[in-house]
Symmetry: C2
Subunit: 155 residues, 2 copies
DNA sequence: TATAATCCCGACTGAAAGCATCAAGAATAA
DNA sequence: TTATTCTTGATGCTTTCAGTCGGGATTATA
């Protein structure tokens, strides 16, 4: 598993939306996420749309528009996010559960490399399946302390 | 961490050389590894050369030439191999120990994403640092049973 | 010493992925 | 009606990946 810039941006955006998540229908504008997290706006558009079609976000158009989480942040695991943005978590797709692809070795069940990679996959999944967006937001708060706006991107 | 075809080939080649490893100076030709593992010969050349300059292999030129492990297979971890072929094991290089690169976030120590990725990195490294080429060869033997030539590539 | 087999080295290529940017359209609050 | 926002699809640039190629250096053997 390798996290691309795209995936990192997705997580950063979800942190903003997670911290902002309230039970009513408040939304956050792309523009705001973009400036707060220093993400190219046009690129972020793509990514948020992607997360939306993955069922993670919902949006509202027009002048009071923006994005919000479709589910509470405790119900979104990093595994789910990354799978949608990056594809398989496994180091090789012949050990991936949902992105399985046959590899070139003659007998997968007897492939030694595969057996090691399966262990690696399981270790990765165990962590990412466990950590939710809500927990990620918690980490942000404890790590960054009680600042005015813990998210502001500072260069 | 994502294992490319190149990395997979490297491991497969090392399995051949590991199984073949004897204390005298017997060597295995590229050609043989290529046909036994069904790896494009010209491509394999590159890879073996790469492993050589990484200090993992040594070679002999000329008509009785070939490659062999420079160290006993128990002393070569998969982590070392993959790091040389693929680069960082970590999912993002700002949590990599030997391929560290600063990322774009303002304060790395307080980055929540980073803290999760560090856990992922540690889990990956823990496994790959532990498994050696010798153990990989063992797995081949136990998985594939006592065949005449457990390595032959069969389509 | 000639030769054939082997490793050695760097350049090259075509396809795909990654990181965006852009233009124009659709919805909506004020 | 208008300004602001999301929506969609196309496009462009750069880097990586997988693999090929030509020609050179080395060496066992006859």
């Amino acid at each position: 598993m390798k996290l691309s810039v795209r995936g990192e941006y997705a997580l950063r955006a979800l942190i903003v939306l997670g911290l902002d998540y309230i039970e009513d229908d408040s939304v956050v504008r792309i523009q705001e996420i973009s400036t707060r997290q220093n993400i190219p706006k046009r690129f972020l558009e793509q990514i948020l749309n992607d997360l939306k079609s993955a069922g993670l976000l919902e949006s509202k158009r027009g002048i009071a528009g923006g994005y919000r989480l479709k589910r509470p942040p405790e119900k979104i695991s990093l595994a789910e996010v990354i799978r949608h943005i990056e594809g398989p978590l496994a180091p090789v797709s012949c050990v991936s559960e949902r992105f399985y692809e046959k590899c070139s070795c003659p007998n997968e069940d007897k492939c030694a490399i595969r057996s090691v990679m399966k262990e690696v996959r399981d270790a990765i999944v165990r962590i990412l399946e466990d950590v939710t967006v809500a927990q990620l937001c918690e980490r942000v708060k404890t790590l960054q302390g009680p600042q005015t706006n813990p998210l502001d991107y500072i260069i």
